[in-house]
Every structure is written in structure tokens, then in C-alpha cells.
């Protein structure tokens, strides 16, 4: 019974997943800014496909709602609307099929092809609907299944995405939207409960479930939300109306209702509407937060990306609109109860944990049939990865009559697994004794996978950082060796000279004096260079305003001896006048890295008259630093990969393939700029492009 009343929420799930996927897709667009044009074009096509899919799905969702209205009213309602909606859906199918031909990614093209095979079946179902040869549940189940197929396609597309911050924003946002939508349904159910003098008991059970689900989603929201988002939620989600909603909830939850509740339905409606309006404010904030985060990323990308992103956001807004419409349709449709069973993973057990009832959704996800589950202990789905202590704690809590919720990994019949966020509540009989437990769960497998992906990519970055530090250290030692060689030679020769003079009795006081002073000077020089190196490799505490050319000079001093030794000419042309705001040492290391990179190529290719040229200049908004060499350039086909980790064109063992990757990370992620590469007529040009902060512009 209990599970059967959650349809409305659950029907939203496919839609919500869709929204999540589109949002994840937008992350994928942004993260792929690192790749080059060809990749971007492919991404653009896939994104267009995704938006086309979502347009199609929205249309079928509408059509689904109208179909149920049409069938429920035995053909008296939605007749015209349904016909019109089908025409719209057909248009979307046409667009989608047209689009399918341009998809190059094999995996996606294949899946799209498979999904499109369902279209003839859609026409069949429509025919059945027109002749009343099917019922509400069957037709809706078909539409939902079809949509899921197409939505999976978007998941496939979204797998390209890898932007941690925004993934987290999106997870928060989607859970928030779920929570808000649940409140919307609660408004309808509550109104119905209060409108009727003797409300159906099922309505009340439905109401209880909705309140629990809202809490679950809100908890998940809090888990992913940023500090600011949490603060915004707390700031807006309070006040008289919200207290009043809670008050009425308590009455509805805990009072028997044999003679109605004596609460005005309009009064309830008014208060909970205010609550939803407040949630809308938070909703707007979350959207703006994601937008602003994405904008930060977008600033680095071209207009092309901006356009794509805009399309994505517009389609999200469209989805939300359609979600609203579908939900409104569903709210009025009581016959859909059995569908709830399909979408909510729920079960009831007795006090010993023996399953008394399980929803279809539970059966689907676990792989067991209802018959296999009922009468078995709930540990049938227990996964070996879950520590026993977790269940101990859960049992302790619910036996005390309290609510327990948490993340649980469950085992499928086939040995696979799925993750749920479970909410377990005790059921009380009239004597206030626990007579069993009810559990409602949300499938969070995808979220968990995303989280794991996040952790993995962070760990990978850490290893890379460590390896590049080691490589840097090796380079540093070799540079020190070059810087020290001549002064050491001079000190040693001078000392030997004095020693010889002493042995040969040609001691002259004045000569000794001058030479000893020279030794002292050389020692000072050695000590000075070692200080330079120490400063150079010191970790930056905070950003500062500095000229590009100043950092370039620092890097040149460090590398001068090494280049001189290799007979590479180092030229400079500094004309920048505007300061940038960066982590000086990190950026200086990037410059050094680019110089070393050129040096390696010049040496490896044994270039005649090798040179490295460093140029700085400004324009209105950016300050530029270029490192140019005559090392012959890089193949156009490899230029896209040059910034990939572990990619190296160097044949010697010292090419770790990390230098340029780390450099790009520092310039783009730590300093908010761009690191670009292009071929010149006889070599390669790296460009560090950094935004000029307002403060330096004002100062000028």
C-alpha cells in the first residue's frame, strides 16, 4: 500500500535523471575545453544530439501524460491535445533520425540506432490507445521504458565529463529539485486530504511517504551542496509559513482523522505555496551558483562553447517546465497508483526483518521476484562490502522506535550490486508497539560512481604532481651543476696557483692578497646562486601583483649558465607594462619549464644556431609571455596531445611527459589564464596569456 502512492514522485525520476544528465553534459563541455577543435566539434554534435533527445523525451512525456488522461477519461478529455502532441513528437523523431546520421562516435551511434528501433512500437501503442486496446499502466510503462532508453544515451554522452566542482553542484541541484518537486506533490495530496470529510487512508500513507522522501532528498542535497548553497537554504527556508506547514504536517501525521482534520484546505494550500515560493528562491540561487561556476570555466573557452552551454541551460529550463506539466497531469490521476510500485524501491518487514512486502522497483533493482523476496530475511540483499557494524547500528536505532537513514550497498541476485540511500521507519500498532518496519530507498548508484570517479581523478592529479616535482628536482640539480662549474673551476685553479707559488717559493704578498679576495668573491657568487635557487623553488604563500617580464628575468637567470653551456642564444624582448596577479614562483617555474622544453628540443635535434626568445607584451585585457624557439616545431597531429599527461616527444629517458601538463594546470587552474601552443616557421611558440586584473588597469 505504502509504496503504491509514490508514483508521482517516481515518475519524475526519469525526468530528473534527464536533467542531471544534461547538466553533467554541460560539465563535459566545459572540461573538454582542454582538448582541441576536432574533439570539440564531436562534442558539439553529441550535445546537439542530447538536446534533441531531451526535446524528444519531453514531447513523449507530455504525450504520455495526455495519453493517460485520454484513457482515464475514456476518450472524453485530451482528445485534441493528444493529437497535436503526437504531431509534435513526430517532428522530434524526424529531427532525431536526421541527426543520427551525423554521429561519429561508434558507441553512441549504435545505442541511438537501438533506441530508434522502439519508434515503430510507439506507433503501434498509439493505435492501441486510439482503439482502447490498452490501459493506462501499460501505455505509461511503454513510454517510460522508451524514454529510459533514450536517457541512457545521454548518460553515455555525459561520460565525457570530468569537472569535479560542477558535478558536485549538479548533484546538489538535482537532489534539491527532487525535494522541491516532492513538496509540490505534498501540496496536492495535503489539499486532497483536507478537502475530504473522510479521506482515503491510502492518501494519508502517501502523505507520510512524501514527507520522508522530501527529507531524504534534502539530506542528499546538503551532502553535495556548497557552503554558500547551504547557507542560502538556511536563510530562506524559514519563517511563519514554514513553521505552519510543519504544524499542519504534524497534525496530519500523528492525529487520527475519523471526522476530518478541521483545517481549512485553502489555508494549507496558501502556506505550503509560500514555502514552495521560498524554495524557488533557493532554486534560483542554486542555478545561479552552477551558472557562475560554469561561467568561470567558460571564460576560458570560445564563443562556441558559450553557445552550447546556453542551449543546455535553455533545455534544462524547458525540462523543468515540462516536469511541472507532467506532474500536474499525474496529480489528478488516481488510477496510476500501481505505477508508484514500479518506481519506488520500498519494502516492509516484520520486527525480525522478514520481508512482508516489496515493491516492483525493489524487485527490478535486486533481480529477485516478489515471491522470492517475501518471507525471506532482508539480509537476502545484504552485500559483503557492508560492515556488520553498520547494520548493528541500524537495528539499534529502529528498535528504539527511531528513524534510521544512510547509504547502503546492496547485493543483486546475480551477484552485482547497487547503492541506495535508505530511510527506515518503524511502524507502530495502536498500543504504540513496533509491529514492523518500512524502508524507502533512492537508487544512488550513479551518484556513488560519480563520487568514486572524483576521488580517482584527484588521486591521479596528486601522483602526477609528485612525479613532476621529482623531475623538477633533477633538473634543478643539473642547473646548479652548470652554474657552479666555472666558479668552482676558478676557485680550485686559484687555490692551486697559490699552492704552487708557495712550493716554488715565488710568494708575493700582494698577489696572494688579490687572489684570496678573488676566491672569496667566487664563494659569494656560489652562495648567491644557491639562494636564488632556494627562492625559486619556494612554495608560494599567496598571489601577488607582478610583471610578466620580472618573472621571465628570474627564470632566465636560473637557466642562463645551462643555456650558455649548450651554446643556445637567449634573447629577450620585454614590453609589458601591466602587472598580473599570480603565484609568482609557480609561474616562474612554468616559464622555466617552457625554456627547458625548448632547450631539450634544440639539443635533441642538434639545431644550428639555436636560440630561445622570450617576449612579453600587453593588450587591453591580457598580458602575454611568449617562449619561442627554432627547434623545428611539432607535427600538427601531435599538437593536440602536447599538454596530455605522460605524453612526450622527447626520445631521451628524461622526458616524463608531465612538464607541460603541470604547466598548463598551473597557468589555467591556479592563475586563471591560458597556455597555448602554435607552430612558427622554424619552431614552436608557447604563449602564456593572463588576464590583467582591474587593480593593475586602474593603476596604469
Amino acid at each position: 500500500m505504502l509504496q503504491k502512492l509514490k508514483i508521482k514522485t517516481r515518475l519524475l525520476l526519469p525526468l530528473s535523471i534527464l536533467i542531471l544528465m544534461v547538466l553533467i553534459l554541460s560539465i563535459s563541455i566545459i572540461s573538454n575545453q582542454y582538448s582541441k577543435r576536432a574533439f570539440l566539434l564531436e562534442l558539439e554534435r553529441n550535445t546537439k544530439l542530447a538536446t534533441n533527445i531531451s526535446k524528444f523525451v519531453h514531447s513523449t512525456q507530455k504525450e504520455r501524460g495526455m495519453t493517460s488522461g485520454f484513457l482515464a477519461s475514456h476518450g472524453t478529455k485530451f482528445t485534441t491535445e493528444l493529437r497535436e502532441q503526437r504531431v509534435l513528437t513526430n517532428q522530434k523523431i524526424e529531427q532525431l533520425s536526421f541527426f543520427a546520421t551525423s554521429i561519429q562516435n561508434e558507441k553512441i551511434a549504435k545505442k541511438l540506432h537501438q533506441a530508434l528501433k522502439l519508434i515503430p512500437k510507439l506507433y503501434q501503442i498509439r493505435d492501441d490507445v486510439d482503439h482502447f486496446q490498452t490501459d493506462v499502466s501499460k501505455s505509461i510503462a511503454f513510454y517510460s521504458k522508451m524514454n529510459e532508453k533514450f536517457l541512457n544515451l545521454i548518460i553515455e554522452i555525459s561520460k565525457i565529463s570530468k569537472l569535479p566542482i560542477i558535478t558536485q553542484n549538479l548533484l546538489a541541484y538535482i537532489n534539491f529539485l527532487e525535494a522541491k518537486e516532492t513538496v509540490g506533490i505534498e501540496r496536492a495530496v495535503g489539499t486532497a486530504l483536507l478537502s475530504e470529510t473522510s479521506p482515503e487512508k491510502s492518501l494519508k500513507v502517501s502523505f507520510i511517504t512524501l514527507v520522508s522522501i522530501e527529507k531524504l532528498y534534502t539530506k542528499l542535497f546538503f551532502q553535495y551542496a556548497s557552503t554558500k548553497a547551504k547557507a542560502t537554504y538556511k536563510r530562506y527556508h524559514r519563517g511563519k509559513e514554514i513553521d505552519e506547514v510543519q504544524h499542519i504536517r504534524d497534525i496530519l501525521l500523528y492525529q487520527e482523522s475519523t471526522n476530518g482534520y478541521h483545517i481549512n484546505a485553502e489555508y494549507w494550500f496558501e502556506n505550503i505555496t509560500t514555502k514552495i515560493d521560498k524554495l524557488k528562491t533557493i532554486d534560483d540561487y542554486l542555478a545561479s551558483e552552477i551558472l557562475s561556476n560554469i561561467h568561470k570555466e567558460l571564460e576560458k573557452t570560445t564563443t562556441l562553447f558559450n553557445n552550447l552551454f546556453f542551449i543546455t541551460i535553455v533545455s534544462i529550463l524547458l525540462f523543468l517546465l515540462i516536469v511541472n506539466m507532467v506532474v500536474k497531469l499525474l496529480r489528478s490521476e488516481k488510477r496510476l497508483k500501481n505505477l508508484l510500485d514500479k518506481y519506488i524501491i520500498s519494502s516492509t518487514t516484520n520486527t525480525k526483518g522478514v520481508i512482508l512486502d516489496a515493491s516492483d522497483a525493489f524487485c527490478d533493482i535486486s533481480g529477485y521476484t516478489k515471491e522470492e523476496l517475501i518471507g525471506k530475511p532482508h539480509s537476502i540483499v545484504r552485500h559483503a562490502d557492508m560492515p556488520k557494524s553498520a547494520f548493528k547500528e541500524m537495528w539499534k536505532t529502529i528498535k528504539e522506535g527511531k528513524v534510521w537513514d544512510g547509504k547502503v550497498k546492496n547485493r543483486k541476485k546475480d551477484g552485482g550490486y547497487y547503492w541506495v540511500y535508505a530511510h527506515i521507519e518503524p511502524l507502530f500498532n495502536k498500543k504504540d508497539e513496533i509491529e514492523g518496519y518500512v524502508a524507502i530507498r533512492i537508487d544512488i548508484t550513479d551518484s556513488i560512481h560519480l563520487e568514486e570517479e572524483l576521488v580517482r581523478s584527484k588521486a591521479k592529479d596528486k601522483t602526477l604532481l609528485h612525479q613532476s616535482k621529482l623531475a623538477q628536482m633533477g633538473e634543478m640539480i643539473s642547473m646548479i651543476a652548470h652554474q657552479w662549474r666555472q666558479p668552482l673551476t676558478a676557485i680550485s685553479a686559484t687555490a692551486s696557483d697559490l699552492y704552487m707559488k708557495n712550493i716554488l717559493d715565488s710568494y708575493e704578498k700582494e698577489y696572494f692578497d688579490t687572489k684570496l679576495k678573488r676566491i672569496n668573491e667566487f664563494s659569494q657568487h656560489l652562495s648567491h646562486t644557491i639562494d636564488d635557487f632556494r627562492n625559486f623553488y619556494k612554495e608560494d604563500k599567496k598571489k601577488e601583483f607582478i610583471l610578466h617580464s620580472q618573472m621571465a628575468k628570474g627564470a632566465c637567470e636560473i637557466v642562463e649558465s645551462s643555456l650558455q653551456y649548450k651554446h643556445i642564444a637567449l634573447q629577450s624582448d620585454f614590453s609589458c607594462e601591466k602587472k598580473v596577479y599570480v603565484l609568482t614562483n609557480e609561474l616562474r617555474q612554468v616559464i622555466l619549464n617552457l625554456i627547458k622544453n625548448s632547450e631539450d628540443i634544440l639539443m635533441e635535434k642538434k639545431i644550428q644556431n639555436p636560440y630561445i626568445k622570450i617576449r612579453t607584451y600587453d593588450d587591453e585585457t591580457h598580458s602575454y609571455l611568449e617562449v619561442i624557439d627554432n627547434g623545428g616545431g611539432i607535427q600538427e597531429s601531435l599538437i593536440e596531445k602536447i599538454f596530455d599527461p605522460y605524453f612526450s616527444t622527447k626520445t631521451k629517458k628524461d622526458g616524463t611527459g608531465l612538464g607541460l601538463y603541470m604547466s598548463k594546470m598551473i597557468v589555467e587552474e591556479h592563475c586563471g589564464g591560458d597556455l597555448l601552443i602554435e607552430n612558427t616557421k622554424d619552431g614552436v611558440k608557447f604563449i602564456i596569456k593572463l588576464p590583467i586584473p582591474k587593480e593593475s588597469l586602474d593603476a596604469k
Binding site: 666555472q486 668552482l488 680550485s492 685553479a493 712550493i503 716554488l504
Partner: protein, 142 residues
Amino acid sequence: MPSSKPSIKEIVLFTKTLHILYVEDNLEARESTLGLLENIFHTITLAKDGQEGLEIFKATPHAFDMVISDINMPYMNGLEMSYAIKQLNPKVKITLLSAYDEEEYAIVEEGKIDARFFKPLNLNHFLETLNQIYKICYDSNK
């Protein structure tokens, strides 16, 4: 062959008769090393790189007893110069100075180079080697 190890004074007594060509591109190393070499040799002619060194040598190939040269230098490196010099005058002795990491110059053709030192120069090792070269010189002259 003398039975005991010769003293520095004894070695210098002989080397003070030699005319050498010293080739080094780095100014500081050149000046400080020159100071040291002046204690040991009679006449020292300086050159800034391999090309200049070879030209000076070509002018009077038989005026020099020995060439002391850095290896890593612009225009012409010490090895190339040495091979050319040995062709002009096979009798001239050649010692090279190199840094530890100059692997690319490590392979030397048999018999072309008489001695090789690492920077910074170890005086005792240098004198000891001069002694050995000088004795070979001495014996073959006999």
C-alpha cells in the same frame, strides 16, 4: 727512469721549458687557470675557442710542445680541434679538460689524446700525469 717519485720542483724544472697552447672559452676559468699554468710552463699562448686555437696552431705547428684545452666550446669543440692538431703535428701532446656530464665527448679515438682531466683540476693528478707524459717524451727522444 728515476727510482723515486719526482718532487713538484723537479717536474716544474722540466715543464718550465715547454711552450703550450691553452684553449678555454670561459673568461673566469681561463684567467684563473692561466695563473696556475704560469707556475708550470715557460710560455702560454691563449685561445678562446677551438677554431681560434686551431688557427693559432696552424700558423706555427712546431712551436708548441703541448695543447691544453677545454672540451665544450662554441664554433669548434676541443675534440675536433685536437684531431686536427694531431694531423698537423702528431708529436704534440694533448690534454683535455672536461666536466663530468659530457657523455657525448667521452668516446675518444685511440692514441689521439694523451690525457684527460675533470674540472675542477686536481693539481697533484695533473702534475703526476705531466710527469708520465714528460718521461715518455724523454724516453722516445733518447
